[in-house]
Amino acid sequence: MLLLALLGVPAVAAVVAYALPAPGARAAWLGLSASGHLALVALAWFAPPAPVFAGWLALDALGLVVLSTVSGLFAVVAWYAVGYLRRASPRGGRAFASCLLAFLGAATLVAVSHHFALLWVGLEGMTLAVAPLIFHRHDRRSLEAVWKYLVISSVGIALALLGVFFLATAQAVAPGGRPLVLDDLVSGAAGLQPAWLKAAFIFLLVGFGAKMGLAPMHTWKPDTYGEAPPLVGGLMAGALTSCAFLGLARVTQVAVAAGIAPFVRPLLVGFGLLSLIVAAAFLIGQTDLRRLLAYSSVEHMGLLVLGLGLGGLGSYGAVLHLVNNACVKGVMFLAVGNVLLSAGEGPAPVLTGALRRTPASGLLLLVGLFAVTGSPPFGLFLSEFAIVSGAFQGGHYVIAFTVLALLAVIFVSLSARILDAVYGPAPAAARVAESPWLVAGPAALALVTLMLGVFIPGPLFRALADGAQVLGGWAP
């Protein structure tokens, strides 16, 4: 019942949002639906829902973590949108709220589905729901961004479907069971055909990796995040990537259960390291704030996949990193959005001295900088620490030191640009009023990630530990 409600609420809300005539009403409806969804997710923590549709939809620990992350981030972004839509209403006014709610519905589908084909449909739905939102300005640059995004994402999703079919073929050889259902795949893992399973993993890695923005399939990210409205960028960086990672994690779950972990782990580690290297290289000297955040997103995706591939403590680090990454990306994108909103639409937008012009957003940007680079006491520090510990524990000293060096380079590059944005010179009478709508959300996310860096609540820790365990690792 609860699962169906979780899916039904965003779907119905999306339809209603399209029918509402007034922009104010649409924005309010958006916020209310998001809060309703968040409340349902909170209910799921206390009363775990039972599987429906013969186990096709179920909520396990990993799914619950991702669902909570997505729902929380979405709620914050939805209330931020109330203030945003008042200041700068995007051209696709009517479809804006509907697409966002459809995005939420599709994300829920990905989180609760235990059937690989449904998961794929959900991910595809997320891709398509967000495409019109990127194109909101209808000009050359956003057109180029949306074209690149569509081409690479569509190719990725097609290859992922091929991977799903390969997975079904691997299972077809084993007797009985429900095809493509996660629980049956894991329980019957010993009977899965290894050649088909390996081929399936490769295609799913490439397909889901393209959605996540892993190098070398990341080329759409800088352009897309650079042109989309910041709140859309924040959603993509926090929610879309998390759901794509969930897909990858599910496949890894099956692979680990089937015993082909020695084949799978080097692939994951390789892609992770490549993403880190690419991100570090392109962050140096990057001036556009949103593209900066895009490469930071590539870096974090690399860390996620690296943790997944290292196993052991790394798996726990990856799951924790997912939650923290979503919060921090939310803070950063929304803060950057505020800075851009207050920069003015003239020929020379003022993109420096945020602390003086918009003190609250400037402070958030500063806090976000420390959070996103993994400084204590923020949550990302703990997750990155867990991942690097996992590398040391597994004896991969070279990998560990490479990661540390790359993280240092990234810290310097990010700080250079963002400190300039925060402390740089600002024209004299430049202070701009800030709407509380635009500040409350990112502030809440910053507090959450600060809390996660200091103390992880019991239920959350248990869920993270369960998630790590099915991925072939353990919790501290």
Binding site: V121, E124, L150, F165, T169, P179, P222
Partner: protein, 212 residues
């Protein structure tokens, strides 16, 4: 029945080569339409029982892939008033040779993957070959519409492979695939329309403003 299946698969492989080797845009679209029709006939040949499911799948596939999509692409050509030549980045001779290499590679890879049933012997290699050739067309052609054609070929290859599982994995996935092609191509078509309006051409090498 195996003979008919093999014949249909062979014709699918030939339509791939037509798309690789032709200079004209309308021939590309006609080849895709023929490929869609062949793909629609395949479920009926693979599963001669003729259940409602296979008939529905065949009808749906022919409707979407052989009629609606090509018609939509032709509308896009007229609306965008493009030049009717393909204008590839990689020459036609090289494309054809790479296509042959792709088919050989697909057969080699299929050797590694264990056979399912005797009747499906040629399905996996032709599916993989279509996927690879679709990717080839997508990456080596500069015109946005031809890239969409390449994407459709990629989806056709995935669909071909999915035909193995028509009985096991239920209708949902087939609907998902068809919907995916339809919606993605629809959205791409709209974007293509906007590209041609903004840039007065469908040459994607013009999309170079966003860069580091």
């Amino acid at each position: 029945m195996t003979q008919i299946v093999e014949l249909l698969l062979l014709l699918v492989a030939l339509t791939n080569f037509v798309v690789l080797g032709t200079t004209r845009l309308s021939t590309c679209i006609r080849a895709i339409a023929v490929q869609g029709a062949l793909l629609g006939l395949l479920p009926l040949a693979l599963y001669p029982g003729g259940s409602l499911h296979t008939w529905g799948l065949a009808a749906g596939t022919i409707l979407v892939k052989a009629i609606v999509l090509p018609r939509f692409l032709r509308w896009a050509i007229r609306e965008a008033a493009v030049r009717r030549e393909v204008e590839p980045r990689l020459g036609y001779v090289a494309s054809l040779l790479l296509g042959v290499a792709a088919v050989a590679a697909a057969f080699a890879i299929s050797r590694q993957l264990p056979l399912l049933e005797q009747a499906r012997e040629m399905l996996v290699p032709v599916a993989l070959a279509t996927v690879i050739i679709g990717l080839l067309v997508l990456t080596t052609r500069t015109k946005a519409l031809v890239q969409v054609v390449g994407y459709i070929m990629l989806e056709n290859g995935v669909y071909l492979f999915g035909l193995i599982h028509v009985e096991r994995v239920p209708f949902l996935v087939e609907v998902g695939v068809l919907l995916d092609v339809f919606v993605a191509v629809f959205i791409m078509g709209i974007v293509v329309f906007h590209i041609s309006r903004e840039f007065d051409s469908l040459d994607t090498t013009r999309l170079t403003e966003l860069t580091d």
